[in-house]
Structures are given as structure tokens and as C-alpha cells.
């Protein structure tokens, strides 16, 4: 049941979905990801332009690595 490969596959799928999403899309679908933004002191939750920008763009605005941010978001989603 808890085949580690299967989990990785699921995570890869989530990650691929995240790249396409806007911040608002992400927070609507997976509200638990809000905590990741708070941990980085990002003002994305409730931001006026959250529906216009992607996670990658938000990472770049805050000078963060998009790869790392995506990893953390995937992890917070997979916890559920």
C-alpha cells in the first residue's frame, strides 16, 4: 500500500500541477499550503494579485528558489 515509489509518483504529479497554478488557484485547492507562505514571510495569502501570478513568479519576487518553494508546497500537500 505505502509503496515509496507510488508516493513519489503522486508527488511528481502534484508538482507538475503546481507549476501551472496561480497562487490563488493553489490556495483555493490546497488551503493548507498557506503555512508555507507564512513561514517565508510571504504576503501571498489574501494578496490582491494572487490570482494573476504563479508560484514561480512569487518565488522570484521574494528572491527565493522556486524549486525549493515547490518542494515545500508539495510536502505540505502530501502531508494531508
Amino acid at each position: 500500500m505505502n509503496d515509496p515509489d507510488e508516493k513519489t509518483e503522486k508527488q511528481t504529479a502534484i508538482r507538475a500541477a503546481l507549476v501551472e497554478l496561480t497562487i490563488e488557484g493553489l490556495l483555493t485547492r490546497w488551503p493548507q499550503t498557506a503555512v508555507v507562505f507564512h513561514q517565508h514571510n510571504m504576503a501571498c495569502v489574501g494578496c490582491a494579485v494572487a490570482s494573476f501570478y504563479t508560484i514561480t513568479e512569487a518565488a522570484s519576487v521574494y528572491g527565493l528558489s522556486a524549486e525549493q518553494l515547490l518542494d515545500e508546497l508539495v510536502a505540505s500537500i502530501s502531508l494531508a
Binding site: 504576503a43 494578496c47 490582491a48 494579485v49 490570482s51 494573476f52 501570478y53 519576487v61 521574494y62
Partner: protein, 226 residues
């Protein structure tokens, strides 16, 4: 238009059949650009649901100074308060572009609300939302600097009317510097000074009739005191 109607806050939670009854009791209403749905102080008997176009809500004081309270677009209600009170229209609603709407007489809407309590609750919720947003605006005027107020006005507008373009996010309404001044309790000179400063810093790009937010995050930093 159907999509706008089905997703609007006024009709939320009603079944399709109930929505149909409400719509059938209204009438289709069209007005050209530059004309008014109603004027401040007029006796109020009609309320509207905007289905197309943009509307500017403003008030004028005795000395002729104009204040812009809001801009509304498809899905927003106009004069919802008419159904719940007998006061005259508290402000003027101008069609900034040609508009389409559904209009109800006060008495019709009242009987519909009694028939479908959800409709009345929706109306209250819409008014509650406006009330909260006016409290925020009051707070802005009382406590924020002009530059912050302009940033916050742009962020409010982008939330309502933002459209992603190559350079950033465009506010997709006709918005002059004078309009921005009238929304933020300041004057044309101040707004021009602030916008020019932001333009030089690459935060905004100024178009003839509107503004593009190129670095929206910078405006959030200014507006929210981050």
C-alpha cells in the same frame, strides 16, 4: 450574461428554478456610456444587477467636490439598499461604458425576498460587504499617507478589474489620474507626482486611460507597510 447571473452574489444559493423566477420578474435594462443609472438624492425605487459594462459610483458635496466610492462591473448589484430602506439614492451611478443590467422595482424585489428568504440574506450579505469595505476605506483616510492610499486603491481595483498582460497586471477600466485622486481623498497634483515616481522605478506603466502594475508586489509593500 447567463454565467454572470448564475454566479452573482445576489442569486447565490437559489435553485435554478428560483433564479429563473427572480429574473423573470426583473426587466432587461440597457444604458449608453456616459449616462446615469440614477443620481444622488433622487427618489430610489429601482435596483439593478449589472450584467455587462462598468459603473462608477460617486458622490458630490455642496461645493461640487466629487468623491468616487467604487467601480462596479458584471455581477455587482447597484442600489441593493433600495430593497431594504426607503432613503433616496445616496450616490450617483454612471455607466463608464455602455451597460446592460437587470432591473427590479423595489416592491417586486421585496416580495421576491419574502418569497425566497435566501435572496434577502444575499442582499444583506452584499450590503455587509460594502459596509466592511467602507470601514477599511475610512481607516485608510484617517490613518494612511497619500502614497499608501493610492497604492491601496490600485490594489483594490486590480482585484476587481485586473487582467494579466505581458508587462504585469492591467486595471481594465477607464481610469484617469483625476479619478484616482477622487478615490483617495487627494488631488490631481499628488496623484501625478506619485504615479510618475512609481513609473520611474518601474513599478507601474502609465497608459493613456489606465495603469499597468508591473511590480505589483512593490505596491503591496507600499500599501501594506510591509
Amino acid at each position: 450574461m447567463q454565467e454572470v447571473v448564475q454566479q452573482c452574489a445576489l442569486l447565490a444559493g437559489l435553485t435554478l428554478a428560483e433564479q429563473e423566477v427572480v429574473l423573470e420578474n426583473g426587466r432587461f435594462y440597457q444604458i449608453p456610456q456616459g449616462t446615469y443609472f440614477f443620481h444622488q438624492g433622487e427618489e430610489a425605487e429601482t435596483l439593478y444587477l449589472i450584467t455587462d459594462g462598468q459603473v462608477k459610483l460617486s458622490q458630490v458635496n455642496e461645493s461640487g467636490a466629487q468623491v468616487i466610492l467604487n467601480y462596479f462591473g458584471p455581477g455587482n448589484g447597484l442600489g441593493i439598499i433600495v430593497a431594504l430602506s426607503t432613503m433616496p439614492y445616496p450616490l450617483s451611478a454612471e455607466a463608464v461604458e455602455a451597460c446592460e443590467a437587470i432591473a427590479w422595482h423595489r416592491d417586486t424585489m421585496k416580495s421576491l425576498m419574502l418569497r425566497y428568504p435566501q435572496l434577502a440574506l444575499n442582499g444583506l450579505e452584499m450590503i455587509a460587504g460594502r459596509f466592511v469595505s467602507l470601514q477599511e476605506r475610512f481607516n485608510d483616510l484617517a490613518t494612511r499617507q497619500v502614497e499608501q492610499r493610492v497604492a491601496r486603491a490600485l490594489l483594490r481595483l486590480v482585484r476587481q478589474f485586473g487582467k494579466r498582460v505581458e508587462q504585469g497586471v492591467m486595471i481594465d477600466i477607464v481610469l484617469s489620474r483625476q479619478n484616482l485622486a477622487e478615490m483617495t481623498g487627494t488631488n490631481l497634483y499628488q496623484v501625478s507626482r506619485i504615479l510618475s515616481k512609481w513609473e520611474k522605478a518601474g513599478v507601474v506603466a502609465l497608459q493613456r486611460q489606465t495603469v499597468i502594475l508591473c511590480k505589483a508586489h512593490e505596491l503591496v509593500v507600499i500599501g501594506e507597510d510591509l
